[in-house]
């Protein structure tokens, strides 16, 4: 229930921001009706749960996203240097990076964080880890150290 309320509130705020009409009562109520319709549809589809509406993670994102953004900027500069280097010093590497997240949601966040950071992409899920293709071997080494994994597990917040 709390997930449905959170989803509805989020959708209504989105509606307000996109429409820009804050005063007209008729339009506001019509927006509310469409929000409720969307939430009902989502409930019927069975996606209003801890995975579909991650409330806890939304709060924790305040600390995780800035760190991720900084990582993205750092690795962007690294990859840009490689591309602009006339010798193109790449050493593509394929490896399986283990994860410690318990839930599907946490694993998806980890895999997407890997992909979002240039220089490493998650290609597939294997039994014991995420198959990662990296532009350089050092990218894999950084992932293997496990800092991103630890932070995502903390972000996931499941025990």
């Amino acid at each position: 229930m709390i997930h449905a309320v959170a989803l509805g509130g989020m959708l209504y705020v989105l509606w307000l921001l996109l429409s820009g009409y804050w005063t007209d009562g008729l339009l506001l109520s019509l927006g509310a009706v469409s929000t409720v319709l969307c939430v009902l549809t989502a409930r019927r589809m069975g996606i209003v749960d801890r995975e579909g509406v991650p409330i806890r993670q939304a709060i924790r994102a305040v600390t995780y996203w800035p760190w991720l953004a900084w990582q993205v900027i750092l690795s962007n500069i690294t990859v840009a240097k490689i591309i602009l280097n006339p010798k193109l010093p790449i050493s593509p590497t394929l490896a399986i990076v283990p994860y410690t997240q318990k839930t599907d949601l946490g694993q998806v966040i980890f895999a997407n964080s890997i992909t979002l950071t240039p220089g490493t992409i998650s290609v597939d899920m294997a039994l014991d880890g995420i198959l990662v293709h990296a532009l350089e071997g050092s990218g894999i080494d950084d992932l293997m150290e496990g800092e991103m994994d630890r932070r995502v597990t903390a972000f996931e917040g499941e025990r």
Binding site: L17, I83, L88, L94, D124, L135, I140
Partner: protein, 131 residues
Amino acid sequence: MELIVDLISWACILTGGTFLLTGGIGILRMPDFYTRIHAASLMDTMGAGMILVGLIFQTGFTLGSVKLLLVLLFLILTGPVSTHALAGAALTAGLRPKNTDDRTGGTFMGPMTHVAENDPPHPDLIGEDHR
């Protein structure tokens, strides 16, 4: 004050443009598909992100900047998903990374068993350089 905001937004837009161009060059220079993806993600994260952040600074606190922020959010949330889908589909279809240091023990670099057994990939799925 206005000058400072202008300067910040110009710096952001210029950085974004530079990263876009770098990513574009990378897409052309990289030797195989899997390395090209890395260059493309350069454009999607820093390129698009910096340009949109610069535009947000130009707009100030209005509904317009909220919408720009939403564009940025959609791009950042959907970009990795389509990149992952692309790479995963290429590997499943049998496109092999070239000159790659394989630390998986060869499980992913050999012929794909279920593809070979169930339906052989279409020649066009693999591409002219792998035939």
